[in-house]
Point group: D3
Chain length 166, copies 6
Amino acid sequence: MVKAEDFLFRGLDKMGNTTNAVGSNVTAVNVNQLPGLNTFGISMVRIDYAPWGQNAPHTHPRATEILVVIEGSLLVGFVTSNPDNKLFTKRLEKGDVFVFPEGLIHFQQNVGKGYALAIAALSSQNPGVITIANAVFGSNPDISDDILARAFQVDKKVIDEIQSKF
Amino acid sequence: MVKAEDFLFRGLDKMGNTTNAVGSNVTAVNVNQLPGLNTFGISMVRIDYAPWGQNAPHTHPRATEILVVIEGSLLVGFVTSNPDNKLFTKRLEKGDVFVFPEGLIHFQQNVGKGYALAIAALSSQNPGVITIANAVFGSNPDISDDILARAFQVDKKVIDEIQSKF
Amino acid sequence: MVKAEDFLFRGLDKMGNTTNAVGSNVTAVNVNQLPGLNTFGISMVRIDYAPWGQNAPHTHPRATEILVVIEGSLLVGFVTSNPDNKLFTKRLEKGDVFVFPEGLIHFQQNVGKGYALAIAALSSQNPGVITIANAVFGSNPDISDDILARAFQVDKKVIDEIQSKF
Amino acid sequence: MVKAEDFLFRGLDKMGNTTNAVGSNVTAVNVNQLPGLNTFGISMVRIDYAPWGQNAPHTHPRATEILVVIEGSLLVGFVTSNPDNKLFTKRLEKGDVFVFPEGLIHFQQNVGKGYALAIAALSSQNPGVITIANAVFGSNPDISDDILARAFQVDKKVIDEIQSKF
Amino acid sequence: MVKAEDFLFRGLDKMGNTTNAVGSNVTAVNVNQLPGLNTFGISMVRIDYAPWGQNAPHTHPRATEILVVIEGSLLVGFVTSNPDNKLFTKRLEKGDVFVFPEGLIHFQQNVGKGYALAIAALSSQNPGVITIANAVFGSNPDISDDILARAFQVDKKVIDEIQSKF
Amino acid sequence: MVKAEDFLFRGLDKMGNTTNAVGSNVTAVNVNQLPGLNTFGISMVRIDYAPWGQNAPHTHPRATEILVVIEGSLLVGFVTSNPDNKLFTKRLEKGDVFVFPEGLIHFQQNVGKGYALAIAALSSQNPGVITIANAVFGSNPDISDDILARAFQVDKKVIDEIQSKF
């Protein structure tokens, strides 16, 4: 039996806890939190940024993202695919809207003086998030440092150092 | 040549002019305003509501909508399809998120004391908007009052009266 | 176990009962009546029209419709979305085919002397039907006359009168 | 500039010429005849059958078909894919509706005394038709009889005989 | 619980048994063999060909195919839909890649001296295979020879002869 | 005018040049090389691996990949999305098939004694490739080391070192 509650999620006005390594917090409202989104191809997130906090480079494997700045100033960017790997960046102020195309690596950094806040929507009810640092250097179990040392063309001990942080 | 500007829209922080018959204003950011959205199946709108203003009953022919209240209190609702025509409503406060399923007739009404503001996203880069009153009673040219009188089971002069407003 | 019966529906030759307020009747053959349609993105309807009967303004939230006149003469029309709200109409005779684009408000009216009959197909196995008058003025429970009076820019008593019919 | 004519096709009431080898005729109304169908995923056909005529085994590479008998009696069937190759058949009378799943080989045969008529809809604006006999034995140029003799496990002269008819 | 085994299929290096009427063998790796493919819209096959063996004319009702020759020489072809029924053919050598568009009838024949091997991928996790000879002349139960004789414009005894082989 | 050449690509038997930093080479056959793939949702690649070479961690923003080992032994893996970041790995031998789900970070490493060869197919005619190291540390222009130092939780000089390699 369908009911109005299935279409309602309360509390996106609550600031997330940004006391963490990257200084940001994402509150997701997708099909896991809001069952009424099922099959509808859309979801929403709130992103809080401490001063100089960032939403670290990540991808959404199944969605494009459209983001609007509610408070503060953000430097945003995404990188195109091979062979160009071109970086597109913009400084966004309150009320600016930006698009991160499906599957591309992107990030936001708070470049204002205070806290920043953005609302974003994603073109899937289950978009997924792959934070590059966590997936590459913090997987369970670890990807072998042998593979990563060659992939990133650094010494294994550099890889080990990064892996120790995740 | 793709460039960062294609993915940027500025100015969604500007309050829309709600001095109109229904007391609301929608600022759209879809593929017409933001070409970088092309093929990506998502878009965004800002909705301003004067006190007791409403976003009158309407449908999006090609999109589901997810809405978050940024300021104020809204009564929101949608009606299911035949044969039930069941009305689902909720009173939303700041931070509440609601879903309007694809193609269904829905509305929002400002039920707080001051202005209200919502941000919504739609699951199409070109969702379309059909405001029921405008499409049914204000089309160009008019649908004949003969048809509408029977459809709405009222006298033609009632239809003529409504049509005269649109 | 799939069987031939899953792909068969009998009886679309039976004229529907058009003794009702609008003088028309729709017999649907979608996934609810014909399980073999599941996932296939198509369905069919038979529409009967008493003399001067109409299939009142409605939308299909998930489908485009293609209609062919089997008997009689129909005035058909649809209205485009905002901001144009342009009404497209044609008078159809036996053998004429017309398209109603996905999600747009459309209608047919019998403008011949006798009964009329159309067969239509829809681009979904579960297209849905939203009859505007029923959804807006006959929902369960009612949309408040406060909201509708402002949306349609008439007095509440006009709204109440229409609501009393549905 | 979109106009009402783009959504209109006239003349599907005209009986097709069934004086041909198989005794049937298909009149198509797809995006080639009716440009308003573009991107909408639906189209329509009229099928006429002379007494004992057939719409010979064929597939639609991009569509499911739903068919209703308007006049007469039809034996209809489709064959499932490997490894079962199961034949599903039904005798249809006026008003019966049947589904031919996407891409499967199917056929109709007039098994009544007079002419028969069906209207069918397809889940693509450009469904395509592959008549098995024509594609396999009447392609331009011919598929070599060497290949077909082995595929159908008969002598090349049998293949040559069939190829000579197409 | 998702596990790595769901994404693994072993043994596509094994040559299939080509000792059969057409001299070829298809080893399929689709969602039936490899559950991790579910919803992902892709699958793979290995095709072995004895000298002068063929993968007889067939269609995939839900997929386009891309094929690469690993060993040997193949004559490949597909036939376009009505009304052209145009045959496109190419002789492929090791390393050549060819595309068979969705739903079209196509075939491959080993035209080299030894065994041939191809790997192909299909744009569905459940593409289906309809071998024309088997579906038309070897269905269970048989399509009546009455229908097939007229469809292929030969004597019923020719049909009966072909049917006796399947 | 469609012609057979549009569906043909020659030369996937040629070993790619693996004399590079990661010891692997990808030869792509997508819609850029093979126009007949347009709209068909599939493409193919050949991947060569020098001894101990790797196809470094990367994603395809618009495709799932299915890979078969033609020669050699590969260690393959992919990492699930947040919050689990679970690493799935398997050692593949000749004839083994593996699936890399859409948008997830994955890699292959040659763990045999000689060269290795794989053929893979992707569920898009234009899947895209994002090599993590190149996109994150080798974009044009660079992502600021400020952002990356915090994202990867290492000193800027470590970031600078990695960036200097790309």
